[in-house]
Symmetry: C2
Subunit: 329 residues, 2 copies
């Protein structure tokens, strides 16, 4: 393995000089800079990230904290898009990212989680899909020990930024579209789980719409579960004109239930996952660009690590209609 020592020897300079060149220090003459870079290229030297992060208190690595939920197809798809966006952007920003799955830290307390991340040389963390139940993560955010970006949860402080779409607005818009297209008066709304932050925001959206339009609104807790949505639809859809769902998975469950019940009600979802295309019926949904969201999250983390303050960042969304023809490949 070619190390910085080899480069130094070969270039006839000191190790520290090589280090300075590599890290773009100002006080290096152009001639030695070139001399060193030539050797670096020739030897194909790549700095040892492990050693660097040990030695330096600087930049540090970034962790993507991902929930591994094997029960639903949808979360796999979303997680993968998040990862893809983050990895891509990290490469551009020259940040060293690692992915950490919540199952790895499930049974740890804050101190343990902190030491775990520190033991990995991590300075910044992106949290995807935080719920109010995740006490440990909340403490982690409060501790200020790491720079953090929380996707889809309104956590903001000195060292923490939040990144998400405008959930309230999106829910308002997609429901409005569906409802006006079908002239509905009575709305069945299947909400997400109590512990999710987006649940409340989306609920506000539908409430605002129903107040404005003077619609009758029935809210049921669908818990982001396809099965639960199916049951609720079976039970309550008949007395309503449409089913507005806080997630695509619930929309799928609702739609399949309606088909089995042999009645028609317009259904709309939320997220824009590919699975929607497989259901056979077209449905309105909010399309979130998860790749983009994750890229923005990384930009934001980069900003925080440069010492800036935490803030709230909103990413745009679109309204779409998912069809099988669009997703097949």
């Amino acid at each position: 393995m070619v190390s910085i020592k080899d480069v130094a020897k070969e270039a006839g300079v000191a190790i520290s000089t090589v280090s300075k060149v590599l890290n773009n220090y100002p006080n290096v003459s152009e001639s030695t800079r070139k001399k060193v870079m030539d050797v670096v290229d020739r030897l194909g030297f790549v700095p040892n990230a492990v050693a660097a992060s040990l030695s330096s208190k600087r930049i540090g690595r970034v962790a993507l904290l991902i929930k591994l939920n094997l029960n639903t197809q949808a979360s796999d798809e979303i997680s993968m898009q998040y990862i893809s966006g983050a990895v891509h952007r990290a490469k551009e920003l020259q940040l060293d990212v690692i992915t950490v799955f919540t199952s790895m830290i499930d049974d740890m307390n804050v101190e343990e989680v902190t030491s775990y991340f520190e033991s990995q040389g991590i300075k910044g963390i992106i949290v995807y899909g935080l719920t109010t139940k995740d006490k440990v993560i909340h403490k982690l955010i409060g501790s200020g020990r790491f720079k953090m970006v929380v996707v889809d949860a309104p956590m903001v402080n000195e060292t923490t930024s939040s990144v998400s779409i405008d959930n309230k607005k999106a829910q308002y818009e997609i429901a409005k579209k569906t409802i006006t297209e079908n002239k509905c008066r009575k709305v069945l709304y299947l909400a997400g789980e109590d512990f999710g932050y987006v649940t409340g925001e989306r609920l506000e959206g539908i409430k605002k719409l129903c107040e404005e339009k003077k619609l009758k609104l029935s809210v049921r807790n669908g818990n982001f579960s396809e099965l639960r949505a199916r049951q609720l639809t079976m039970r309550y859809a008949k007395n309503n004109d449409c089913v507005v769902c806080a997630s695509d998975l619930m929309a799928i469950g609702a739609m399949k239930a309606l088909i089995d019940m042999d009645i028609f009600r317009p259904v709309c979802g939320f997220d824009g996952i590919i699975l929607m295309g497989y259901v056979g019926k077209q449905m309105n949904t909010v399309k979130q660009d998860f790749v983009k969201i994750s890229e923005v999250a990384l930009d934001e983390l980069n900003r925080l690590m440069k010492g800036k303050e935490g803030r709230k960042v909103t990413v745009p969304h679109t309204l779409v209609r998912m069809r099988y023809e669009d997703i097949i490949s």
Copy 2:
């Protein structure tokens, strides 16, 4: 951050002694071992993995090399299951795993990839979904620089093991089940992509069956693509009695095409992904336990890193029929 030094001081022993206790060295008295462990627990000390991997020439870290394929739902699901299995087993084996996505090393040559992994302190790599096109990975395997386990590709040498189900047998069995259930004589087989290793093995399976049963076999290259499968089915299904597919995704494409053509032909798939349950029709398929496969891969890598030789490991599969009722949650 509490370090090994703090533990040593607190326990009144030398740093090296603490290290020995932590790494289960033989020559440590039971009394000091206990004394040290007490302090470790009390202080909540977690060894710094970064420093450890810098210092040690030993075990080292493990990388999971994952293909990020955003075009298909199916691969997301499979990747996530692989990751889940690996992460879980790694925790049990006390191995430090990191996930690396192929997009990160796409434009590198062997030397660069090697330095990249070395710079991450990686000693062992698990490769998921290798194709014959991945020249760089092949060179990596040949180099013997890392201990490697290849999932779903028959690569075996001194430092490389292969882990997979018996693809030939599985394809034989699922096709046999479907064909005998429906008394078929003419079989349309939609094969995987040319570059995939499993493609050839599965093809052997169906060929063996058709020879034994004296069935007429038409093989088409479906390229693991749902769309391609749809097109091929539209074109060739009418003249055949059934459609045997080398992947679930193709089976879904074929089934949807058949529905649109308004003709019935039994279809069977391969993999056992959840998406199968969403298609509306029940289909036979081979269920691979991707979590289990990944666990086995990690066990195998652990074995290699202990100096054992590479070998071929086969994981059992099952035949199932996927229904919506089974996958909804």
